[in-house]
Each structure stands twice: as structure tokens, then as C-alpha cells.
Amino acid sequence: MAKRAAIVGTGQTFHKSHRPDVNGQELINEAVSRALLDANLTMKDIDAIIIGNMDHFEGINYVDCWSVDGSGGTMKPVMKITTGGTTGCTIAIGGYHLVASGMFDKVLIVGWEKNSESDTSGAITTAFDPIWDRLVFAGAISGLAAEAQAYIARYGATDRDGARVSVRDRKHALNNPHAQLRKEVSLEEVLASPMLADPIHLLDVCPRTDGACAVIMASEDSAEKITKTPDWIWGTGNRHPYAYLGDADYGRLTSMERTAKEIFKKAGIKEPRKEINVIELYQPYSFAGIIWIEDMGIVPPGKGAEYIWSGATDMGGELPINPSGGVISCNPIGATGLIRCAEAAMQVMGKAEGRQVPDVNHAVSTGFGGCWWTDMILHGKKKPNY
């Protein structure tokens, strides 16, 4: 019988730009130990492990096998799932299915990256087709800049609009002790920071980070025994379209639109803006904070900037986005999507401490990556009735 599944514990490292004090397995173990502690479980309780990262950032093949000393996977079922930037969210979705299938009762999900160990833009560039895409592609920023230009041409946004999003997330990060960058910036500082790829300034984009995150999911048979406030998974979904970068509709994130519609329909959510209380958006650069909430159906196309300027997405607003400080404040790539998931779970479970949004009934976490891909999870305080 298919089962409902919930997040019962989360753990993260204190993310930093460079962690030469630990090797990869030790970094992973920090997050795993914290998640076990949070759920008050031991490794003996874990029935399977899913791990994810991007191979070429550390240059380690068969990471599922290499990492067992850190993940606790020795003599346990271990599987690697990886989909690029979406990996962190993808592995959380993987954990959901392993639990919901009834095959495993308690699954440990681990996302990690030591981005300091290679050149991140160079490594991301190898994600793209060696024959067709690699010549001009320059890591994630070049594609994102092309999206922002297309959106600006279509809807008339400005770089001030983008900067406002960056100001928001960087301010939110002050409340999150795990975030890597915790420094408030002004609009003027964002706009005055060096232009990396028009129209993206240095302070519009995410950093590179060493960090790990772990999440424990359990079936409805045990979730409420582990914690009084499990974070129930209401829906998971994704779209990974396109074979080449030039296939996309620049200026719109079609994968987000398709995924959000599917999940909200399943959950019976008709007005996401009112029914969702907090979003942890995988937003690698500021303009995505405008464009992608339109694609998610929070506001109509072209209305994203107005909504951001209204303060609705700030802490204390109608629908706070990225109370954690988001990806702009911290980006250990293979962990990034899972951090969104863990932060959303903490909001539902009431464990978000200084960054807690009051009365969270539904939260959304997302992953972004690949060729304009989206992964998404709908979290809820109540057990879903399906």
C-alpha cells in the first residue's frame, strides 16, 4: 500500500566558502549527525540513504559508494540520484517515493558539495553539450543573464527591480546562522557592484559554498511517533525539458509553470498566493525572484516586480520568500535544493527559530537547474487526505 510520508528531522552544516578543515565524508557527516539528533534517531533506525551532488565539482566518481563513512551507509541500501542544480530537490523527491512506496520506512537524504575544490563556472560549463553548447556557455550566469534580458525586453523590468530581490534575501540571511553570506546590502550597493554578465551584477548572484544538508523522511506508520509536528509531503513534481540551451522560451520558466499547476491541482490549491504561507525558492540570481513567482502562479506575468516592491515577500509580509536568505546567501550546489526543502520543513514544524514565519500551514520549496528545469515540493502541517 502506498503510504503518506513526512519530514521528521533536518540538519545542515554552517555553510562557508571554504572548509579545508574537513574532507567530503566529514562534511557530509556533520549534516547527517545533526539530522539524526533533530529527529532523535540513530543510524540503526535508517532503512535507506539517497545522496546527491554534481560529480565534476569534486571529481569523485561513484559518490554513493565513496561517501558511506560520512552518510552512515555501510551495509545499508544507498543510491545516488543527481540532476544538476535541481539535485537537492530531486533527492528529496526520491526520498518521498522510497518511503511512500512502502519499500523503506525511514530514509535519510543527503545533499552536499565542496565547491571550493574546483572552478565552479568551468565545471557547470561541462554540463552542456560538448559539441553545441560549450563554446560560448560560461557557467550558470550566462544562461541566467540571457533569461533576464529576454524578460526585460518582454515586460520592461529594470535592474533596480532585480536589486530589490537581492536586498531582501541578503537581509533575511541575517536571521539564519547557517547562511554563508550574512551582510545587509543597499539597492545602490547592488547596482554599483561589478557587472558580470549584462544585466547581472555581482551582488545579484549566488556565491559558491562548501556545505551539506540532510533530511529524514518517515512513513505515516512512524512519523508521528518520531515528532509531534511532522512536515507532511503534499505533492512532488518536476519538469526537465530540453536537450539544448537554445530550445527554451527565454523570459519564461515553463518547467515551473507546468510543475506548479500539476502540484497545486493535486492538492486542491486554487489561490496559491493566499493558501501558501512561505516559499523557499531556489533562486540563484535576483531576477528569478521576479520571473519565477509569476510562473509559479503567485502573481500574473509582468506583475512580479510590483509584488516584490510592495514588501509582500519580505519577512512580515503576505507571503515571505526565502526567510533563510535563499541561494543568493548560500549555494553548496548539490545541497542547495535540499536546504530549500529543509528550511520549508522547519517552517512547517515550527523549528525555524529567528527566521520563523508565523502560522505556516503550507510551504513550497523548489529546485532549479539543468536546462531550465524545475523540481518542486508542497509541504503541509496537516496530513494530506489523499
Binding site: G122, A123, I131, W132, Q149, L196
Partner: protein, 154 residues
Amino acid sequence: MAENEHIVIESGEAAQPFNYAVGMYGSRFFKELRENKKIMGVKCPTCGKVYVPPRGVCGPCFQEMKEFVEVGPGGVIGTYTILRFAFIDPETGHQKPVPYGYGFIKLDGADTLFQHYIDLVDEKKVRIGARVEPVWANERKGTIKDIQYFRVVE
């Protein structure tokens, strides 16, 4: 050794060489590029969409495509950016020279965008919708570099 010394081991000159198979569709593309200065796309018999680079499958229709059609060589800028930050080029292992124009070009007759360099001689003219044409390499070898870059034309 100091208590707080953390040793880092470098990977050295290690490299992973690959021989990427271009396949039937890509081979046709590069042959036409090299021999005839023609840019070839492939058309989906179901939805009629013309794809560049050519490939075997129309994703949305899950339909095999066989009909090659010539596109371009001119087109318009679909979207673009100007890369201004330095990073390690995985093709060479060295820093990529910046700035350079990075264009997604809507070639005449194609429905997808074709990526290539855009000349930055007059940066102000590099805009979405601007008309562009390829500047061919003097010696064409059947690679993406047979086109040096695209340049904006009036």
C-alpha cells in the same frame, strides 16, 4: 605543523580525455557547414517545428525527425548577454578571454535558438531583435568554430 594547518592536495595535471560522437544529425550539420557554408536544421513532421542543432527526436511530440531544412545563415538576436567575468574554460584549462558577446540567435526559418558569439565592435547595437549574420572562418574544419561569430547588420 601548526594545529590549524589544513593540507590541500592538488589534482595536478590530471585530465579526462573524451571522444564525443557527433552522431548522424550532427555529422550532416558539420559537413554542410564545412563544405557549403550552410546551416541545417531538422523539421518535426508532426508539429512542424524546426530544430537547430538538428537531432533525432522532437521532445514534445516524441517523433523521429528526418527532414533536414536549411536555415539562416542570417537571423535575429533572440536573447543575449555580455560576459564580463573570467572563468576557467574547461575546453582549454585556461581563463576564457572576456568580455565576449553571448548570443542566442533565432536563425531565419528555425524555431529554436542557436548559440554563438556576437561581435562587440559596437556594443550599443547588440540588442534583442537586432539582425545578425555569420562571419565564417577562413579555414573550415567541420566544427562549431567554422563560424567565427555573428555580427550585427543594419
